[in-house]
Symmetry: C2
Subunit: 476 residues, 2 copies
């Protein structure tokens, strides 16, 4: 697997690749615990360049790992087999905004917030937005089927992909999907690509459905004595037929962390819920907010603050927005890791899963935060521990196993919106062994030389600790 | 390919199969123009029976064509290679309604209207509903990615499938997807199955997302002088950011037909639009209705009738509801055929496509009705002609070719919600030649013996006229 650097330079030009060790190091990890060195970073600017690179790699059987912002938490973009990391951030043009067809055509490196800033001028928006929307690219969001805070009303990336251009493993370009709201014209291949984590093809252009910005948004915060009360409130809101445009949970660990990091002075109660409704008519938003407020109060929710004002909403949301970054400030000497950081459970299982997470954490000597887009069943966590100690990594291993066994036992999934990658693969493969042959058959049919992001998902190693280096200094 | 009838009887019992010629004849056609005789009809009652039948067929390389109501319009369930027709209508149990998780688990033979009657008791509904919802099964709707009158707000079947159990070509059972609103846990295989027309696996159970019934629905009808005005109104309503829950078009041919068939006394204007809004707060529904009414009036819409009342809404919708059946009454001596009966175009191309359809029809001596769920870009047509005459079939062939060339030239798709099957395959294959190898590779990977609904979609014959018998008496 010797890479011909001259060939690479010929394709993308001398300024658009690097095999400098410092650059390779930067690209050796993402937001996960994993680290592995690529042989070369390639930064294509056109579809043709992607085709030529992939075509060359396929002939020489060189692994190609596509990468957007590198904000993935499960190791999707860590090049476990070395080879080429394909950085798509330079393909970042918004090609076309078509309000008359309610769609937008973008290159994969377009950043989510940039897209929304452009759309806002037309009174439109693109709903799926992970917490990392400031840096996350549309290509990366497609790879992981990202959903974000408004998924409870608006759904996930898979619900917005209309069509896409994809470079397949042999370097050929296919044009999947349609320019229309619905289609029944051949396999829904564009939806197969969503969530495939770069293993089936390289998305080089995407046509996404967009939707009108609502005239009114009202956001509220409510405090709860216990995580159980907060979780049950969320379940009840959904079952009641309420239609929140956001329904977020944040536990005490999260509250303490944002207070420490940002000095917010939030009451350090059992849990906080954020709920939002949106619409074009204030009476309708009022109705939804009043109904949700009533359900909060029924479960002991207190200190409810509510606002339509954009600046006030930003303030109310600030703790949740910065939670991820703040968690590392929770306690001196412990590090916040992305391991079992994302799961999905049926709506009725939110409270019990949230409580179970704390119980498992305590029993295994780690700290875990529980938060996320619980209105759509998305639970996020972080496992926080002393990463310098081997014994604490063993603790983390036990936590992950116990946690996912529990999530699967209540009908949940290993990942709701972050993807499987490397970290979650062992737990996921154990739970979903029946679908692995089907996935492997499709992978082999489309990528017979196994060059596209190899050894991820169904082909990932069975031991996530040994899968790659850990990007932590484990001393004792 | 000799089928061992004893073996079939052993699997499903003596009352659940037939090779009686009268039965075979019934199952030799659907709502399309095609006809081909199966060797045996098998009516399984359990997943295990489906597995055993498919396993046997795979060993003997016998084609298996799954079938729901047989209401498909493109020949999906016509057994072009003979073999087994698998009638899934006996697997019609609603297994579980879980309002607490906003999902329902059903067998594939459950009829859409039956499901909605059951859900309505909980204040819930399943939005995708084709005009044939009185007989259409959920399995069939999954096969075609059906969408229906409310797709403009609620989307298509693909947006509601959470998970499914599928029997693959080797008889193995896989459990795809999740019980959660979103997931990023492996390939979105459940969405690959949607719209695959029975070529990749047999859906034996489906978990579908459901949603609260709105408290208010308001429906209106508006009359327009021309099809162009009506089409432009629809485009403008969507571009304006209005959120109709229904936005339907019906042309003069349709109006005349329903007047003849049902004596409705509708004004025989250029076109009629039906628009609906729904919601939990009347002020919000009023707002949307008023906004849409204003856009109608701007384009010369007149005689606008509007009602919240269920019985009145039923009356206003009655013409559209019965349109399909009524069209055969349009003119003595001509027959209404399902050929180029379904297409999707971008929102901005509705008026010009509708006009083009009439122009092509006139120039080629056939009559065509234009109607459909135009708010989501779905245009339906029927080609009406004297099916006893060979020359008229030639006319129909020209119409289809011209029409789909036009639809593809404006960025549209060959089918929006009816599927490709046999009738639409030549036009679709011509337009989408780039994706055929990818589809064939997936098909071969999952069904190496090509037993599941063979020779449909990408593998369909290039000449739809010669693909099968035509189920018409062509005399001269």
């Amino acid at each position: 697997m010797k890479i011909d650097i001259k060939k690479i330079e010929e394709i993308v030009g001398e300024n658009n690749y690097s095999d400098n060790i410092a650059d390779l190091y930067v690209y050796s990890s993402d937001a996960s615990v994993h680290q592995a060195m690529p042989a070369v970073i390639v930064k294509p600017k056109t579809i043709e360049e992607v085709q030529k690179i992939v075509c060359y790699a396929n002939k020489k059987k060189i692994p190609v790992t596509p990468r957007g912002a590198g904000s993935g938490t499960s190791g999707h973009t860590v090049p476990i087999d070395g080879g080429i990391v394909l950085d798509l951030k330079q393909m970042n043009r918004i090609l076309e905004i078509r309000p008359e067809d309610m769609l937008v055509r973008v290159e994969p490196g377009v950043v989510d917030d940039d897209l929304n800033r452009a759309l806002n001028q037309y009174g439109l928006f693109y709903p799926p937005a992970p917490a990392s929307s400031r840096i996350a690219t549309i290509g990366g969001e497609i790879a992981a089927n990202a959903s974000g805070v408004r998924s409870v009303k608006y759904g996930a990336t898979r619900d917005y992909v209309l069509g896409m251009k994809v470079v397949l493993a042999d370097g050929s370009l296919v044009n999947l999907g349609s320019n229309t709201r619905v289609h029944s014209a051949g396999y829904q291949l564009e939806r197969l690509i969503v969530g495939s984590e770069g293993t089936l093809g390289i998305v080089v252009e995407a046509t996404m459905r967009i939707t009108p910005l609502p005239k009114f948004r009202c956001l509220a915060v409510a405090n709860f004595n216990s995580l159980k009360d907060a979780g049950n409130t969320i379940s009840d809101i959904i079952t009641s037929g309420s239609q929140p445009s956001m329904l977020e949970l944040m536990d005490k660990v999260g509250i303490i962390a944002v207070n420490k990091a940002m000095n917010l002075g939030l009451p350090e109660v059992g849990a906080i819920i954020l709920f939002e409704a949106d619409g074009n008519v204030k009476e309708a938003v009022d109705y939804e907010m009043k109904k949700m407020k009533g359900i909060c109060e029924k479960h002991g929710g207190s200190g409810i603050e509510m606002s339509y004002d954009a600046a006030e909403r930003k303030r109310l949301f600030s703790g949740r927005k910065k939670l991820f970054a703040a968690l590392s400030r929770y306690k001196e000497g412990i590090i916040c890791t992305d391991l079992a950081d994302d799961m999905g459970v049926p709506n009725s299982k939110i409270a019990q899963t949230a409580e179970k997470i704390h119980e498992i954490a305590e029993r295994n000597n780690v700290i875990m935060a529980v938060y996320g887009h619980c209105g759509s069943g998305v639970i996020h966590t972080k496992i926080m521990f002393d990463t310098t100690k081997k014994s604490q990594w063993k603790d983390a291993e036990r936590v992950i196993e116990e946690l996912y066994d529990y999530v699967h036992s209540v009908g949940g999934v290993t990942s709701a919106e972050h993807g499987i990658g490397l970290s979650k693969a062992p737990a996921w493969k154990k739970a979903r062994s029946d679908i692995l042959p089907m996935m492997k058959a499709i992978k082999k049919a489309l990528d017979p030389n196994n060059i596209l992001n190899p050894h991820k998902l169904m082909d990932a190693p069975d031991d996530w600790v040994k899968a790659t280096n850990l990007r932590y200094n484990v001393r004792s």
